[in-house]
């Protein structure tokens, strides 16, 4: 089926969300709670767009959770949408003035800045509570961290704010965080994340530390031919697989 996004006719697939249709057709819509590995959640609201109906009146919809239907007419960068996104970004950056990463990029792009004065000078915050980290952890099957407490006290934490027995130190949470809010320090020997320190395992070929021991242990039952596949870092592993395929 076909839909029109910003004047461009785009091919859409049934069951797809509008955000994904746009992306596949080369139109980027900003998103914070959606990540390529995690479906949209409709909680950051940054992916809003305007939907124009048959008689020309428009309504604001949330593209990451909006299923496409035949004949949609969408505006992703109308004056109103830009204005709304700037307000949303302003609120987010005021909540998390220390944020880095994707959020900061969007703020620059939309010409928004904030120092936390709007909300009681809470100037040290980085987290916008988008849930990406806890969902990534959940998807991987560990659920070592969660959004805890409620209301204005909400915070991402490990159980009882102590090192979590379930954490394997994979740092997926830190990688998906759009604001760089999760502290993860890596040295050649160790990784520290969520108050827990892990020993790093080094690649059998190039010697680069590439995973924690716990992470490999976790993958063991899930990976065929574990020893030959996971002794190497992803780069060397690729080469090995290619070499063994050639002989």
């Amino acid at each position: 089926m076909n839909i029109v996004i910003d004047g461009k006719t785009c091919e859409a697939r049934p069951g797809e969300y509008l955000w994904d249709t746009a992306r596949r057709n080369g139109i980027d819509i900003p998103a914070l709670c959606r990540h390529d590995a995690l479906p949209g959640r409709g909680c950051c609201r940054l992916c809003i767009v305007e939907n124009e109906n048959a008689v020309g009146s428009r309504s604001v919809i949330v593209s990451c959770v909006f299923p496409v239907t035949e004949g949609l007419k969408i505006h992703t960068r109308s004056e109103k949408i830009i204005r709304f996104r700037r307000i949303l970004l302003k609120l987010l950056i005021e909540r998390a003035p220390q944020a880095e990463g994707v959020l900061l990029d969007y703020c620059r792009e939309y010409g928004v800045a904030g120092n936390g004065e709007l909300f009681n000078d809470n100037t040290n915050e980085k987290c916008i509570l988008c849930n990406r980290c806890s969902r990534a952890c959940q998807e991987l099957g560990n659920s070592a961290i969660q959004v805890t407490q409620r209301g204005i006290d909400k915070i991402v934490a490990s159980p009882f704010n102590e090192p979590s027995p379930d954490c394997i130190g994979c740092a997926a949470c830190a990688r998906v965080c759009p604001t760089g809010a999760i502290a993860c320090t890596d040295t050649r020997e160790q990784r520290t994340i969520w108050n827990k320190t892990f020993e790093m395992v080094k690649c059998a070929e190039c010697g680069k530390p590439f995973a924690t021991a716990e992470e490999l242990e976790w993958m063991k039952p899930k990976i065929l031919d574990f020893e030959s596949n996971l002794a190497y870092c992803p780069r060397c592993r690729g080469r090995h697989v290619a070499n063994s395929a050639m002989v």
């Binding site: 806890s134 952890c137 959940q138 560990n142 659920s143 070592a144 961290i145 969660q146 959004v147 805890t148 407490q149 409620r150 934490a157 490990s158 159980p159 009882f160 979590s164 027995p165 379930d166």
Partner: protein, 159 residues
């Protein structure tokens, strides 16, 4: 109060070991202990086959759960809309004068805890407070003095 291992097992086994039972399980533990001891949360999460982080998120989300020991008498003062406009703050100030406790605090003898809740569902008799399972409506300062004096007297007789 921390439960004996057998008692906790008994309590858990009233429920099938499924995650959807978690709220009921935590409520029962809290009912029995007066709060949710950390080791019981861990044990319950294990029994329910639920990640500990999710159990922790749940018990910190609901206001009715407490992770810290609470007093023998838990005073829940309603701060819902009806009570709010009927000056519940004045009643809280009164409790503060007598017990020297702000909402969320427990005295050092472990006798009283003062909390505010969002609605006790008894707006017709607002302002309302609840001491353990007993409701007291149409609160005045005099009434609060009387209620607390009664409780003190009861405790003195026991001692």
């Amino acid at each position: 109060m921390i439960l004996k291992e057998e008692r906790l097992t008994q309590l858990l086994q009233k429920f099938p070991p499924e995650r959807r039972q978690s709220l009921a399980v935590f409520q029962d533990i809290q009912q029995e202990c007066g709060y949710l001891p950390k080791e019981h949360i861990i044990e319950a999460a294990r029994y329910l086959k639920m990640p500990l982080a999710e159990a922790y998120a749940m018990v910190t989300f609901y206001r009715s759960f407490s992770l810290d020991p609470r007093g023998k008498y838990v005073i829940k003062v309603c701060d819902g809309t009806a009570c709010h406009i009927k000056n519940v703050q004045g009643r809280l100030d009164c409790l503060k004068r007598i017990l020297n406790l702000d909402p969320g605090e427990t005295d050092k003898d472990g006798l009283f805890t003062v909390e505010t809740v969002s609605c006790l569902g008894a707006c017709a008799i607002s302002p309302v407070m609840k001491v353990n399972d007993v409701y007291y409506g149409n609160l005045t300062e005099e009434k609060i003095y009387e209620i607390l004096a009664d409780l003190y007297r009861k405790e003195m007789m026991k001692a």
